[in-house]
């Protein structure tokens, strides 16, 4: 799966949790939880949605560093490689 496809899945997963998100307006190099108002329940559902879509289960200890879309896409690309 190439980077663009992963990014698309990430944005779809995000939209399933935060329907008001407009992907084209999202700044992928900014802290995600400031760009989108996500509480811990939203975040967990986001992680669950990524697990369903991509089969990648992201452990809790990695949450903290996955704070930007770009970083998350890169992380998933490496996990899927």
């Amino acid at each position: 799966m190439d980077e663009a496809a992963i990014r698309n899945e990430v944005l779809q997963a995000l939209k399933s949790v935060a329907p008001e998100v407009e992907p084209e307006r999202l700044r992928c190099d900014r802290p995600l939880r400031e760009e989108v108002d996500l509480d811990s329940m939203d975040w967990l559902r986001f992680m669950a949605s990524l697990h369903r879509r991509l089969g990648v289960s992201i452990p809790e200890e990695d949450y903290r560093r996955l704070d930007r879309i770009d970083v998350l896409v890169d992380y998933l690309r490496r996990r899927l490689a």
Partner: protein, 379 residues
């Protein structure tokens, strides 16, 4: 014959608009069955029946707004038949809501119909008395637009305003009537979070627990020991709640909040609570709560979450007598056995009604929560 009144779906509700009937006359209904959908200021709510019976009459048409307590349906009890039951008069409850425009001058008898057929049909659907509407069509004819405008306020905009009004009314009542006292306590969450980390580590995200459910469980278990904080202030005295049901404040993405109830929190395993909490938050945000979830909570818990501030001193949701707040979990310097260490800490607060309890009692309640959170495997 059983009268089924429009239930109160929270202290901030005094009327509701019937959106849809889910049952028909002649249908058998059971306890817990959704019989209607009612729009409150905050959300569309599935109204559940709390009795067994057979639907006899539906007294309110969809689209009509009625005050809380108004009979909206009648049910036949076991042994009753339609022949033995008396019909209720519908007119009393069919009063339309205040009209958007002033009443038009009365047309003389025998004049042309002053409402278009489409508008008349729509008015009937909405339960609006179209004769009283101000028509903007040719010769003052009431048009479809006039009916739509009067019946259904533009929902998305007004929903926010209505929610604001509902919160304003409940919170003003709270601050006007309830003499609040406030207590705060910093709690060491080290043991709870390491237990949680171990629990969650082998699990897929779908099965993981959030710290919130352990906090709910601790509050619920503590309430069992401190029942004076679990209930309602009614007519000058305290009435204990019938179980340990916690209202959980859920903020909505479009603004505002609701506090639906998690039921029997003290008796449920944490994984079951997590599933119910997840479901409740999603349904609160999609506007599909059930009537039993909007009443019955004996205490509300508010969690600011990890995007929030350190502490929250809440406003009690009347007629409840206490509210527990948890701020953001942060790492702080902590002294234990004379040594300085770093611990994840949360500020727990209690806002309580001084008519129903005193600070000493509230302080012991917070102390019980602290004790329980140090023993996470017993939650």
């Amino acid at each position: 014959m059983i009268e089924f009144p429009l239930p109160s779906l929270g202290a901030d509700m005094d009327e509701g608009r019937l959106l849809e009937w889910k049952v028909q006359p002649g249908e058998k209904v059971h306890r817990g069955q959704v019989i209607a959908v009612v729009d409150t200021a905050k959300a569309a709510v599935d109204v559940e029946c709390w009795q067994e019976g057979e639907v006899f009459e539906l007294l309110v048409e969809p689209g009509v707004k009625v005050p809380v307590g108004t009979p909206i349906a009648t049910l036949l009890e076991a042994g009753e038949t339609p022949a033995t039951a008396q019909h209720r008069v519908k007119a009393a409850v069919a009063a339309p809501e205040p009209l958007a425009s002033p009443v038009a001058p009365v047309m003389p008898l025998g004049s042309r119909p002053r409402i278009s057929p489409a508008a008349r049909k729509r008015a009937a659907e909405l339960g609006i008395d179209a004769e009283r509407l101000h028509g903007t069509g040719p010769h003052g004819v009431v048009t479809l637009d006039d009916v739509e405008g009067a019946g259904w306020p533009a929902a998305p905009v007004d929903r926010n305003a209505a929610m604001r009004q509902a919160i304003a009314a409940a919170m003003s009542r709270s601050k006007r009537e309830i003499p609040h006292y406030y207590l705060a306590e910093a709690l060491d969450l080290g043991p709870m979070l390491s237990w949680l980390q171990t629990y969650n580590a082998p699990l897929a995200p779908e099965a993981r627990l959030l710290p919130a459910v352990l906090l709910f469980k601790a509050v619920a278990l503590a309430l069992r020991e401190y029942p004076q904080l679990n209930g309602y202030w009614h007519d000058g005295s305290f009435q204990p709640a019938s179980g340990v049901h916690l209202g959980v404040a859920v903020s909505l993405r479009q603004g505002g909040l609701v506090a639906p109830a998690l039921h029997d929190v003290a008796d449920k395993p944490v994984q079951a609570l997590m599933d119910e909490f997840t479901d409740l938050v999603q349904r609160a945000r999609s506007g599909s709560l059930r009537s039993s979830e909007l009443s019955g909570a004996g205490l509300t818990v508010t969690l600011l979450g990890d995007q929030g501030t350190d502490s929250v001193f809440g406003v009690i949701y009347p007629p409840q007598v206490a509210l527990v707040g948890f701020g953001r979990i942060v790492e702080r310097p902590w002294v234990e056995n004379g040594a300085l260490c770093v611990r994840p800490v949360v500020n727990a607060t209690l806002a309580a009604d001084h008519r129903a309890s005193d600070g000493h009692y509230g302080g012991r309640f917070l102390g019980e929560i602290r004790r329980l959170l140090l023993l996470p495997d017993q939650l």
